[in-house]
């Protein structure tokens, strides 16, 4: 793992700053006030292609739609919870108008920490996933973010990219190649499969290491593309390991867990435990403490895996 951990929102900034020169149609729109500029590297390199739209997300989403309809590839940066709050604009102006707008929903989940529920994107995946044509991406580290952003420079159709405020340990190796719609098997195993995404992925890998010490062989799959989801990989994991544990920093309703259950219900129904924020409001606290509280850290994930396996006996 080696490299210093980065938040995926900073990794996004690095990626657009790197890709800006080779993709002249790439623009960035930002809702933040100028006192806390993000993404800052892109803004420094391409000031004429970075637009501070003010705290007016509904308008910003519509402007991005119009830019896209005129051939630009705008990345709209806003807090995930506020994107969810502007669902109508995403639905009509971004999706139904057949745009290539990219929405970067930052501040994913309880990993936001002290700001509390008001600033936590906890229902955004459920909402974005419900929209026809919308791709939903959630990278697990900086390498995956870079790959996802590069992919989005040329992908046709609207997309939602969910990023974290907190730094994430790398789960992928140098030279990682992003493949849209394909899950990534991070560890092989036969007793159960842990399916993780974004901020919970590194914890899932460590949970598998903890479970190994107890003699449990856990497969770990990282789903960076929640829609369209990798049905084949999930169905094979269900068939080969018999039990699935989904782990996400999002409500357990409608997010990764929902997507996995829908995919498997059609193809390979097995016992699934959906683990995440259990249909409650998030609360303030240090991110690490919140991950412990909601059992989204390695120890917590391993304990939920034990429950899933014990119930099956």
């Amino acid at each position: 793992m080696g490299a210093p951990p980065l938040s995926t929102r900073d990794a996004f900034d690095d990626a657009v700053a790197r890709l800006g020169a080779s993709h002249p149609e790439l623009l960035v729109l930002d809702a933040e006030p100028s006192s806390s500029p993000r993404p800052s590297k892109f803004a420094r390199q391409f000031p004429e292609r970075c637009f501070r739209m003010g705290i007016a997300e509904a308008n910003m989403l519509g402007v991005a739609a119009g830019l896209s309809l005129s051939g630009k590839v705008p990345f709209v940066c806003a807090s995930a919870c506020f994107v969810a709050g502007r669902f109508d604009q995403v639905r009509m102006s971004v999706c139904y108008s057949a745009t290539n707008a990219r929405i970067v929903g930052d501040h994913a989940g309880v990993g936001v920490g002290e700001d509390g529920y008001a600033r936590m994107g906890l229902e955004d995946v459920a909402l974005m996933r419900a929209l026809p044509t919308m791709a939903v991406l959630q990278p697990a580290d900086d390498l995956e973010t870079a790959g996802a952003v590069e992919f989005l420079c040329t992908h046709r159709g609207p997309a939602y990219l969910r990023t974290t405020r907190q730094r994430l340990e790398r789960v992928n190796a140098e030279g990682y190649r992003f493949a849209f719609g394909k899950g990534v098997t991070l560890a092989d195993g036969k007793d159960l499969t842990i399916v993780a995404s974004g901020g919970t992925t590194a914890g899932a890998v460590r949970a598998a290491e903890l479970l190994a010490k107890d003699g449990i062989s856990a497969r770990v799959i990282n789903i960076h593309t929640i829609k369209p989801i990798d049905v084949e990989l999930l169905a094979r994991a269900a068939r080969e390991t018999g039990r699935i544990l989904t782990v996400e920093d999002h409500q357990i309703t409608g997010g990764l867990g929902g997507a996995v259950c829908e995919a498997l219900a059609d193809r390979e129904p097995v016992r699934v435990r959906r683990h995440g924020v259990p249909d409650v409001f998030g609360e303030s606290g240090p991110p690490a403490a919140l991950y412990r509280h909601y059992r989204l850290d390695a120890t917590g994930i391993a304990s939920v895996a034990h429950e899933l396996l014990d119930r099956g006996r």
Partner: protein
């Protein structure tokens, strides 16, 4: 300035467009005749006397853009696009039918000529701003127009957009307000024109059924530098049909076969009385 021949054609076509859009609404047995009829003179002046566009090449990159923010008035736009040659007028009666590209509210990916999908109130101006900004970034002469409604002028997003367009100095953007209800002023609120002025738009107030005034305002908007324009067009809901004009109930009610026949008879009679070489005034 419009020449007399163009003005005569606009005035004559205004009746045909009203008949065609009302007939489509009647065939669909649903739709919004009031706001459709109020918008027709504005729309056809844009498409036949102002905008730079190629109906046979709907994706021509240098075309001027039009976004129908008040999406419920789309029967008027369908009629204008058909008469301009984007598609056959024979398609108009398929309005709102299953499988028709003429959706109840505009869908851009189904019908060439429709630039954006609209129908959720208050969203069109933001899209138009994005298009105008893209033209500025490209150094392109493209102009962008959007028609907004009186009712949606209460939406918050519209005023977020109103704040952003002057800050981006989008003088290639022209908003046309189909001011057919004056619903907010009726509640004692400040005139909409004053509010647009306060947001640093150039405001031009006109009679929205007078093709000369409409064309004049659009020309003035094009000549204005450094600032977007809003044309506040005073219009009448149901314009041109005696029993629909300013009558409650015609916002979203389709005419019956008998009512359509009466409306068509009225419009044809008025059209027949048009004198050539027009004086200002419309149906």
């Amino acid at each position: 300035m419009l020449d007399n021949a163009t003005l005569d054609t606009l005035r004559r076509r205004a009746f045909d467009l009203r008949i065609d859009s009302l007939s489509a609404i009647a065939a669909a047995e649903s739709g919004h005749p009031g706001g459709t009829l109020s918008a027709i003179d504005l729309l056809q002046t844009l498409y036949f006397a102002e905008m730079n566009h190629r109906p046979k090449e709907p994706h021509w990159p240098e075309r001027d853009r039009f976004v129908l923010s008040k999406g419920h008035a789309v029967p008027a736009l369908y009629a204008v696009l058909a008469h301009a040659g984007y598609f056959s007028v024979d398609l108009l009666p398929s309005l709102r039918r299953l499988g028709s590209p003429l959706q109840g509210h505009p869908a851009n990916f189904l019908l060439p000529g429709i630039e954006a999908s609209t129908g959720s109130p208050g969203q069109g101006l933001s899209i138009a701003i994005g298009m105008a900004l893209a033209a500025k970034l490209d150094g392109s002469p493209v102009r962008v127009y959007t028609l907004i409604g009186d009712g949606e002028s209460a939406e918050g997003q519209l005023w977020e957009a109103a704040r952003s367009a002057p800050r981006l100095a989008l003088d290639n953007l022209c908003v046309v307000l189909d001011h057919n209800e004056r619903s907010q002023e009726a509640l004692g609120e400040a005139p909409l024109a004053d509010r647009w002025r306060a947001f640093d738009f150039q405001v031009l107030a006109i009679d929205g059924h007078d093709h000369l005034q409409i064309a004049g305002a659009l020309t003035a908007a094009r000549a204005t530098k450094g600032q977007p324009t809003v044309v506040v067009a005073e219009t009448v809901k149901g314009r041109g049909v005696s029993f629909m004009e300013n009558a409650a109930g015609w916002h979203d009610l389709a005419p019956s076969r008998e009512q359509l026949a009466q409306a068509v008879a009225e419009l044809r009679a008025a059209q027949a009385q048009l004198a050539p070489s027009a004086k200002p005034g419309a149906p």
